[in-house]
Amino acid sequence: MPPILFYLFATLAVLGALGVIVNRNPVSSAFSLIACFVSIAALFVGLNAYFIGTIQVLVYTGAIMVLFLFIIMLLDLRAEERRPMNFGAAFAGVLAGITFIGMAAGVLAQFPEGRKTMPELAETGASDVHALGHVIFTEFNFPLQIIAVLLVAATIGVVVLCKKELH
């Protein structure tokens, strides 16, 4: 991926993420997050992970964020009214974020393996969906079955949580 494209999508992703935490209106936050997720999907495609990039758009943006927007619409949330800002929480949050970035930068500065560039990929006829499917269904078959049970449990849980009591 040409570096200019990486920096473009990385900047879009960071701006989208900042838009989530800065916007007062929850709908604006949701749309900023959608922009962030689409930029992340573009980065995935640039890393030759075509299936994961597609899944990121379909599932994360197309299902999860749409669910968020439905719930915001259902609860009829307005923009947050101006509460007295909890300075303790705001300061702690910003401090935690900056500390984490500092620690990550410190660790990455001492990571010599991280300075290499992308190795070339071998030209195979199979797409990466093919290879990924092969790995999922052979090596990771058991976690796949557990994930299926997890999804059933989540669906049943959602139905139970949202049922109204019938007298």
Partner: protein, 105 residues
């Protein structure tokens, strides 16, 4: 060319922004969105390692399988979490984290 460190720093930056959002915002739905942002940041890190650690021109697919599972678990978690938020809203008529004080004192 872009090095691995730049992808990892981007992942850490997005994670830190999500972490700050979770601690600063008081609307529970926005907190939940910042949680999804943190999960996505971890996904970037995994896919970067999958690509940069390619052995003989073949990416490490185990990392992409893990990303697949993380996205699935995130979807299930969002469904259940939003159901809880809706139930909470039905009971309390508020989505502000400061108003949910049952466990205090």
């Amino acid at each position: 060319m872009v090095t691995l460190n730049e992808y990892l720093f981007l992942s850490a930056l997005l994670f830190a922004i999500g972490l700050t959002g979770v601690m600063v915002r008081s609307n529970v739905i926005v907190i939940f969105m910042c949680l999804e942002l943190m999960l996505s940041a971890a996904n970037i890190s995994l896919v970067a390692f999958s690509r940069f650690g390619a052995i003989d021109g073949v990416p490490i697919y185990s990392a992409q399988v893990l990303v697949f599972f993380i996205i699935t678990v995130a979807a299930a978690e969002v469904a259940v979490g939003l159901a809880i938020i809706v139930a909470m809203y039905r009971a309390r008529r508020t989505t502000d984290v400061g108003d949910m004080t049952t466990l205090k004192n």
